[in-house]
Symmetry: C2
Subunit: 392 residues, 2 copies
């Protein structure tokens, strides 16, 4: 049985993360800019809640950075994605295609709409949905009518497709856009992990009807907890804002709400933090790409493992760096996790595939050969921007 | 036609809120304690998100203050109430009794569970649910079986009752507890507005299976956005924490979730603000009760209006103070709103009754004579703790 040279792996880590820089977390935030100044200003103004200039400013900064016209800041990425599905018109009893290899939120929000997640396979090149395999599957398993695309087995309409830019690495969007056109399915991007990631020179989130970002504490930039809905459709952006602010109709003083809405707006104090973080995003991305380059070099000649590199059509934020074990040594994953964590190098496996979780066991699922292989072979390694600083 | 002496009303306001203190908002927060110091400490620690000591500390402070054992902090009060209904076991297709006179969140969260709000009337004494009228209504309109209480008209099970402590004033809980026992209905308290309010010497939130608090920017204390689930049942508290943290099962590194959960936890940076606010809560309550007393005296002899005073069984936080117009002059409400707002005294009417909103028009509803009268006669007046400071 081939085995992994754990000493060689640890030595490779030593080049990138010398002992003096450990313990190295998976991803920790850097507050090296105007964080305190903006948060203090927000406190002094007493406008800490749902009114106040920082939310507007934060949204404008995201819009400028991503090139996406409509931005609506939310309490977190999960809630942003929930509203994206609402904007896509996902309804009770419908199905939504999501990768089996993703964070739980992608599947959970489908159920918040009363819909059913339908799990699809990934490709090793992007870690995201495999478009070629998905097209073949849909041609075989669905029927297109004037009312949309229907799962022949369950009879349910397949309303939306939600590719995820896994660990920040862009999915191959062009063929997914084509698939959505062919099968009359609405495209929603889960860009929770991919701020600062580009597909064919445009920022992720630009391909779908709506996309969601996350600013959780472990993301490239953070607002404590936070997220945003992105859309290039002005009318959808207006709807997103309406839905996230309890669907209250503008009036001098009367409380009139014209539909069931949500209390999903980002508070101003969190947005203040976000504005300071956005100012540093470009430098964080530089650091993170430098760190990835350091990893690439350090692991170039280590047998049995491969450092994941962005596909040729993408420029990735390398949110969470990935080591892929060769299939032959996948059985050593847990030993690798043990040793690295013991050395103060925080690592963890990928998420458990969604279809294995008890609440999703009855959901429709396609063949998941690649997702299962990735689940068994993949680990995340320290990725904080601080680890890639030039002076490190 | 009797008319209201608007000059007399303005003169009464002048005693409580002299011109130098205007414009007077309806409710603005006071950051006069350790807000800066705790928020800065939180930023310096970099633990701004879902891990960090302030959330635990904030929950412990609320627990001590309310005397309620289990406290789980959430992103806001709406999300807290959603989880309370989940804890009460509210399911798709069931009904939940809520007052027609409430903020939209109370009705919205029922629909998040796939259930239907069923609107009930209020009493003038508390501004909350009228227990006597509700009992008569339920005896007539429902049937109790081994499986619970069923609406004879719709056939749906009535699973829960959600009294709201409207504007912070405690509802008459004892008879509601009895009703829930008689009709096999689960009691959930919407205490979003009532931190610091007591019913028969116990803090609100102590009577129900679970209760929700809000720390929105306009509440007695604020975390920017925030809320909390309260329950004296340890197992329910554990469930609440599980449900609000994506139902992730404890594991060194694996991602296992055992049910559909939510991303509803309060970020640490917001909790840091909350800890500083909790330290001042008692002094805020003193100021607010002093302000209410000032209003009571100022309006004691003004004809046509009455300042709302807590019922004898309650000690209220007077979150939002209320002026009630006599029925004879209710038609002058909008003129009163115009004049006061023009004078820099921010006022607003009560919420539009829920059954009038387009998305709730088909919901079951009982006779709402009193709620309708209150809706027409009630206005909220400035209530910030700063207005009641002893040195004001």
């Amino acid at each position: 049985m081939p085995s992994l040279d754990l000493n060689a792996v640890i030595n490779a880590f030593e080049i990138v993360i010398p002992k003096g820089r450990r313990p190295a977390a998976l991803h920790e935030p850097l507050f090296s800019g105007n964080e305190w100044s903006y948060v203090k200003d927000c406190l002094d103004s007493t406008w800490v809640s749902y009114v106040g200039g920082y939310v507007d400013k934060f949204e404008a900064m995201i819009s400028e950075f991503t090139g996406i016209k409509g931005v609506v800041a939310t309490v977190n990425g999960t809630m942003a994605l929930h509203i994206c599905l609402k904007l896509a018109g996902v309804e009770h009893g419908e199905e939504v295609l999501v990768p089996a290899l993703t964070f739980i939120a992608t599947a959970n929000v489908v159920t918040y709409c009363g819909a059913v997640p339908h799990f699809v396979d990934s490709e090793e090149k992007t870690l995201g949905i495999d478009p070629a395999k998905l097209r073949i599957y849909l041609r075989e398993k669905t029927k297109i009518t004037g009312d949309g695309c229907f799962n022949k087995l369950t009879g349910r309409r397949i309303k939306a497709l939600v590719p995820v830019h896994v660990f920040g690495h862009p999915v191959d969007m062009d063929p997914l856009v084509e698939i959505c056109r062919e099968f009359k399915i609405t495209l929603v991007e889960d860009a929770a992990e991919s701020i600062g990631s580009y597909y064919k020179n445009r920022h992720t989130g630009n391909w779908a009807k709506a996309a969601a970002l996350s600013f959780n504490g472990n993301k490239t930039i953070t607002t404590g907890g936070g997220g945003a809905i992105l859309t290039n459709d002005e009318e959808l952006a207006r709807q997103a804002k309406h839905l996230t602010t309890t669907a209250r109709v503008q009036h001098r003083w009367a409380f009139i709400h014209d539909m069931v809405g949500y209390n999903y707006r980002l508070p101003n104090i969190n947005a203040a933090l976000g504005c300071a973080q956005m100012e540093q995003l470009s430098s964080f991305l530089e650091s993170k790409r430098r760190l990835a380059e350091n990893y690439r070099k350090a692991f170039a000649n280590i047998e049995g493992v491969r450092f994941f590199i962005e596909p040729e059509f993408a420029k990735s934020n390398y949110w969470l760096n990935v080591l892929l074990l060769d299939e032959a040594v996948a059985g050593e994953r847990d030993r690798l996790l043990e040793v690295t964590n013991k050395e103060g190098i925080m690592t963890r496996p990928a998420w458990t595939l969604m279809h294995r979780l008890p609440m999703f066991r009855e959901c429709p699922v396609m063949d998941l050969t690649v997702a299962k292989a990735l689940e068994a072979r993949m680990i995340n390694i320290p990725s904080s921007p601080g680890l890639g600083k030039a002076d490190a």
